[in-house]
Assembly symmetry: C2
Homo-oligomer: 113 residues x 2
């Protein structure tokens, strides 16, 4: 077998570690959907706290997933912009959305039997 | 906008909830890679405990992700087989592996600067 399954598992676990937690991917999804300002992102994700969002955004900036743009207006305007790296995860997010729909259908069908 | 972002977020969060925990996806990956017996799966995932694997396999069977086949030989042979539903997640896993590779490269590059 040509595939290196140990290396594959390591890359997979890197990704899983990276997207760990329940908020990271919904935030990436929100920003890729066009939400740019803190309150916009916060409002688009029911249940997230200001503190969690603030921490995640800081982490994501350090990990080059987004750029924080500060416009020196009055009041100061701060916008979060997804990097190419963040956008490259978009396909996975779309597939997860589809899979979630199908999985729900399958579980519901099972429960009705 | 035609897309229903609330429904999309719900489907996304269903998937995230479903794959929650660090072991579910590595187990799906292992079984889709052809590992069928408990010990094979266990050996393919460094760090997983017998107890965790056992619990996950039971959950996954209940969620129609795998079929548990029992062959009444002596000793009894038990094999786990992925369902179509499990295989349908395979594309997402492959993309996660690729993304993990790229993400590692990007983070490493940053650290070396």
């Amino acid at each position: 077998m040509d595939r290196d399954q140990v290396e594959e598992l390591r890359s997979l676990q890197d990704t899983l570690y990276f997207i760990g937690g329940k908020w990271r991917i919904p935030i990436m999804n929100s920003i890729c959907n066009g939400n740019r300002r803190f309150r916009e992102i916060e409002r688009s994700i029911p249940g997230i706290t200001t503190r969690m969002l603030s921490r995640e955004l800081k982490d994501m900036e350090a990990n080059k997933l987004l750029k924080r743009n500060v416009y020196p207006d009055t009041p100061v305007l701060v916008e979060y912009e997804p990097t190419e790296h963040c956008r490259s995860f978009g396909g996975i997010i779309s597939e997860m959305i589809n899979w979630g729909r199908i999985h729900r259908d399958i579980v519901v069908r099972k429960e009705n039997k």
